[in-house]
């Protein structure tokens, strides 16, 4: 069998491909879920009761069920129940289904963070704005939004770090992210079988990436410090 130094380039290459998939899922989820979360948070705060109930019900369902089950439902439900496999069997379809599940799931968590942030702004500011003749839209975008952003950076950072590692759940619908790539060498792939270390080595990728994110998010927090 091959030695570690012979295995390393092959494994490194495969893990990089897997990690690229992990990163793609991570960024698509962030780009989709951050704005969608804001929309959902408006829905759960609106005074129009039916929309508020519906939104809060959906948030409850999404936060109350495991993401793994949501992935299975979103990927397999169309084919199993509606007899129309909209995602197809290929890798792109799996990735797209995973994106939908992750965006929706994280948007619901983000929405609650947004809601907390918005509701933490004292009511006096709304009243002051109204007295000054500002519209509700102006008050939200010019007065409250930046304060809210500053307050929600730490909890959002927390979710973002969790998201990095949650991406590995997508392997349940056979999305070939980095854990999948690492496990492949256990079962045997590209002439290497029964290699245990690639699976554990994936942790290095996660650790490095969350390290970078921690620094970046810390910087963001610092930059927002002048808003008090």
């Amino acid at each position: 069998m091959t030695t570690f130094s012979e295995q390393f380039p092959i494994v490194f290459q495969a893990l990089n491909v897997g990690f690229l998939q992990t990163l793609k899922l991570f960024f698509v989820t962030l780009i989709g879920a951050l704005p969608l979360g804001l929309i959902i948070s408006f829905g759960s705060m609106t005074k129009f009761k039916p929309v508020q109930w519906l939104t809060r019900f959906v948030v409850w369902v999404v936060r109350g069920t495991p993401l793994m089950i949501q992935l299975l439902i979103i990927y397999y439900f169309p084919g199993l129940v509606l007899h129309n496999p909209v995602w197809g069997g290929g890798e792109d379809g799996r990735f797209f289904a995973a994106c939908v599940a992750f965006v929706f799931n994280y948007a619901c968590y983000f929405s609650e963070i947004y809601r907390g942030g918005i509701q933490s702004i004292p009511k006096g500011q709304d009243e002051a704005g109204l007295v000054l003749g500002m519209t509700r839209g102006q008050i939200f975008f010019r007065v409250k939004l930046l304060q809210m952003i500053k307050r929600i950076v730490p909890p959002i950072s927390n979710e973002v770090i969790t998201l990095v590692k949650d991406t590995s759940l997508a392997r349940i619908i056979a999305l070939q992210e980095i854990i999948w790539a690492g496990q492949a060498f256990l079962k045997g792939s590209q002439g290497i079988s029964g290699a245990i270390w690639p699976l554990f080595f994936t942790a290095v990728y996660y650790l490095a990436f969350t390290g970078v994110l921690t620094v970046l998010l810390g910087k963001l927090e610092k930059r927002l410090e002048f808003f008090r």
Partner: protein, 264 residues
């Protein structure tokens, strides 16, 4: 402002529901499975990375005994072949959900599979064997010797079924490779995996040089699974008979001739 947002959200949600219900119409009503695959022009084969049955060569092309025969079969149908890696636990869901058209991956014909899917005639012989550290191998030559051991087996695998039939103490792990890892790390005394994998992964010159296989627990046969009631089963069985000479050649390529089942 808030009213406007509320209306927008309400509309979005309505749209979502509408989009969901629109997909309700089955796209392939009244068509047989064979027609469905021919219309698509591609046979989607669900596999896992499983040497020597389905694995990738240096260029990322799927090869192996099963992969090569699947290519020949697709060719005989006049369609292209696409290999999709699946999570083995979800194989029946993949099949029924039409994300794949068949499971063709050194699959043991167990009651579980034959009950949930329509399977081809068996084409390959395999058996489940006991894996133990090589230094203990002499003490565990038969199934009866192994009663006291703690076994690691792949969840839902044929190995698990056989281990339970023998009354072994088992814990279930994710896959056959994890079962080997359990034995190597000493968290389990022994594992049950299939002979094909045992030949490839244990003994001199492998990562598991200190493990070996001993007692054979059963005989089992490999088959290909299609959706329940699929007419592709008959197509494949006929293909097995008419193209047996080609299949023999493929088996020779991978050194598996002895395990092949003759098709008549």
């Amino acid at each position: 402002m808030k009213k406007l947002i509320a209306v927008v959200i309400a509309l979005t949600m309505l749209l979502c529901f509408a989009a969901c219900s629109k997909n309700n119409a089955p796209a392939d009503e009244g068509k047989t499975d064979l027609e469905y695959v021919k219309d698509k022009g591609v046979l989607v084969v669900g596999i896992t990375d499983f040497e020597p049955m389905d694995y990738q060569d240096k260029n990322g092309e799927w090869i192996g005994f099963d992969a090569d025969v699947a290519k020949l079969f697709a060719e005989s149908l006049g369609v292209k072949v696409e290999f999709v890696e699946i999570d083995w636990d979800n194989k029946i869901m993949e099949l029924d959900g039409k994300t794949i058209d068949c499971i063709w991956n050194g699959m043991t014909l167990t009651d579980e599979v034959t009950a949930a899917a329509s399977c081809s005639n068996p084409y390959f012989n395999n058996k489940q064997v006991v894996i133990v550290p090589a230094k203990n191998a002499d003490s565990y030559k038969t199934a009866a010797d192994c009663k006291e051991l703690n076994f690691a087996v792949e969840a839902g695998s044929a190995g698990e079924a056989v281990a339970n039939d023998n009354g072994f103490k088992v814990i279930s792990v994710k896959d056959q490779a994890s079962a080997l890892m359990e034995v190597k790390s000493g968290t389990a005394d022994a594992a049950v995996i299939d002979l094909l994998m045992a030949m490839a992964m244990t003994g001199e010159g492998t990562s598991y040089a200190d493990l070996t296989y001993t007692a054979g627990l059963n005989d089992e046969k490999y088959g290909v699974a299609f959706r329940t009631g699929s007419d592709l089963v008959d197509s494949l069985n006929a293909f097995f008979v008419s193209n047996y000479a080609d299949i023999e050649k493929v088996a020779e390529t991978y050194g598996l001739t002895d395990a092949l089942i003759e098709q008549k």
